[in-house]
């Protein structure tokens, strides 16, 4: 006999599984950027990555100083 907890767990499991599949599907669909990677686009994207890294470092530093 399957318990209520078991049925609930299976239901949650299938929902999570469905979400993971959906994310994989989205990643596959948008695997290749459609925009042509010209020099300008590459520079802009590199700048964005560096900018975000800097912000994450600043947030991390703030968090560390709050904990100290």
């Amino acid at each position: 006999m399957v318990s209520i907890d078991g049925v609930f767990g299976m239901r949650i499991g299938s929902i999570i599984h469905g979400w993971v599949d959906k994310i994989h599907e989205i990643n596959k669909k948008y695997e290749k950027p459609r925009i042509r990677m010209s020099r300008g686009v590459r520079i802009a994207l590199i700048f964005l990555r560096l900018y975000l890294i800097l912000l994450v470092l600043l947030l991390g530093y703030k968090f560390w100083t709050l904990l100290k």
Binding site: Y30, E31, I35, L48, Y51, L52
Partner: protein, 422 residues
């Protein structure tokens, strides 16, 4: 043709033009007036109380800034028929897509919390319990989207947007000196000299004028409304009128608080309304109603921006033209955002100030990315065809984007490290 016939012909033409405009108008006006949300109203209130009319000239400068950024979303939406989240996934791949989408979801939800903070604080002035405010607001906002027509939703939203101009009669109630407003307000200067605090205020005003959710909202709204390439000029006019209104409302609010509260220590719009209630109940009521309405308008747009983005990314049906059974996930997202954000405000001793500060910092991570993607997309001939940015548009938008990135980054840093301003 005699004078009467010429006048009649021009009148008929004007009425026809107005009818077309009213048909197309919506996304630009709504997004711009919703831009004066609870956070925006608080910023303008405090700006007026701190600097009087001294920064009105700066608010005027923000008109073209808001227009140039938002106008690009009109063209992008009308040409690609895609929302901004989907456009980023498609053009830049899943890494940037997920980054923008998750960042947007987080910043929108946090901003939604601040809208509920504004709404509950405004109605608390009239003795209304925050629980009642949250429940009634959530029900009204749900009913607004459940009628299954984008057009109806838009007209109701426009009605609430029109309430935003409550600050214009409020300004006349305080009898400001017009000569003072013009001589102090329109002459560019830095009241009290350029210092850290003034810099923080300038950046806060920029931050409230351009927000990431606005880019996502307007583009999705243009798509949901079904605007086509031929409608772009009307969308541009709509955005221009909206930009003018948003700045006008901000200026009138600064005039109100600059006249009544200049020199006093005010920290929020709700506090300003409470103070005014004791001296001029009509004025206090106007400010409180304006704050509530600003939070309400901001909340309906922000929660919709998130729901549209979820629908675009996950491929769910996502249109206000669909019934609840046709787009269940779209409406579920909308409802979840509302209920969860409203619930946070009701938690006793919730860190609401911290949440408000956090919104500013997280928005800084998303805004530069959203703006850079916007310019890159608008320069892609394959995507935009003849509607791509011209050289002049690129010069203007690149200048604005660079300035916004630098200033919003400094704003985020000074929010994190306020000691840098000392």
């Amino acid at each position: 043709m005699d004078l009467g016939s010429t006048f009649f012909y021009k009148y008929q033409r004007f009425i026809k033009t107005l009818k077309i405009y009213l048909l197309i108008a919506g996304p630009g006006l709504i997004v711009m007036l919703a831009d004066n949300d609870a956070g925006g109203i608080t910023t303008y209130t405090v700006t007026g109380a701190k600097y009087g009319y001294g920064l009105i000239w700066f608010l005027l400068l923000l008109l073209p800034v808001a227009y140039i950024v938002q106008e690009m979303t009109v063209r992008l939406g009308a040409v690609t028929k895609r929302g901004h989240a989907e456009a980023i996934f498609d053009a830049f791949g899943s890494f940037w897509g997920w980054f923008s989408f998750l960042d947007l979801a987080l910043v929108n939800w946090l901003t939604l919390v601040t809208e509920f903070i504004g709404m509950t604080a405004a109605l608390a002035i009239f003795g209304i319990n925050p629980l009642i405010t949250v429940v009634i607001v959530s029900i009204v906002m749900m009913l607004m989207v459940l009628q299954g027509k984008y057009w109806t939703w838009e007209k109701i939203a426009l009605l609430f947007a029109a309430l935003n101009i409550v600050y214009i009669p409020a300004a006349f109630l305080v009898h400001p000196s017009m000569s003072q407003v013009l001589s102090v307000g329109l002459v560019p200067h830095f009241p009290g000299g350029f210092n850290g605090t003034l810099f923080f205020f300038l950046m806060a005003n920029i931050g409230t004028t351009i927000a990431p959710w606005m880019i996502f909202f307007q583009q999705s709204a243009v798509v949901d409304k079904g605007m086509k390439e031929k409608d772009i000029p009307w969308g541009q006019i709509d955005t221009l009128i909206g930009s003018a209104f948003t700045v006008l409302v901000a200026i009138f609010l600064v005039v109100v608080t600059g006249t009544v509260l200049y020199g006093s220590e005010v920290e929020s719009a709700a506090q300003a309304a409470s103070v005014m209630m004791t001296t001029n109940p009509w004025l206090g009521t106007f400010i409180a109603i304006g704050l509530f309405n600003a939070g309400f308008l901001g909340a309906i747009c922000i929660s919709l921006a998130s729901s549209w983005a979820f629908g675009e990314v996950f491929g769910w049906a996502h249109s206000l033209n669909l019934k609840i059974r046709e787009a269940p996930w779209f409406y579920a997202c909308y409802l979840f955002a509302l209920i969860s954000a409203g619930a946070v405000v009701l938690i006793p001793h919730a860190p609401l100030v911290l949440i408000t500060l956090f919104v500013q910092v997280i928005a800084v991570t998303l805004l530069p990315a959203a703006l850079v993607f916007l310019i890159l997309l608008l320069n892609n001939e394959e995507i935009m065809g003849k509607y791509k940015n011209t050289t002049l548009q690129n010069v203007a938008s690149a200048t604005i984007v660079i300035a916004i990135i630098v200033l919003s980054t400094l704003y985020g840093i000074t929010t994190l490290f306020p000691e840098l301003l000392m």
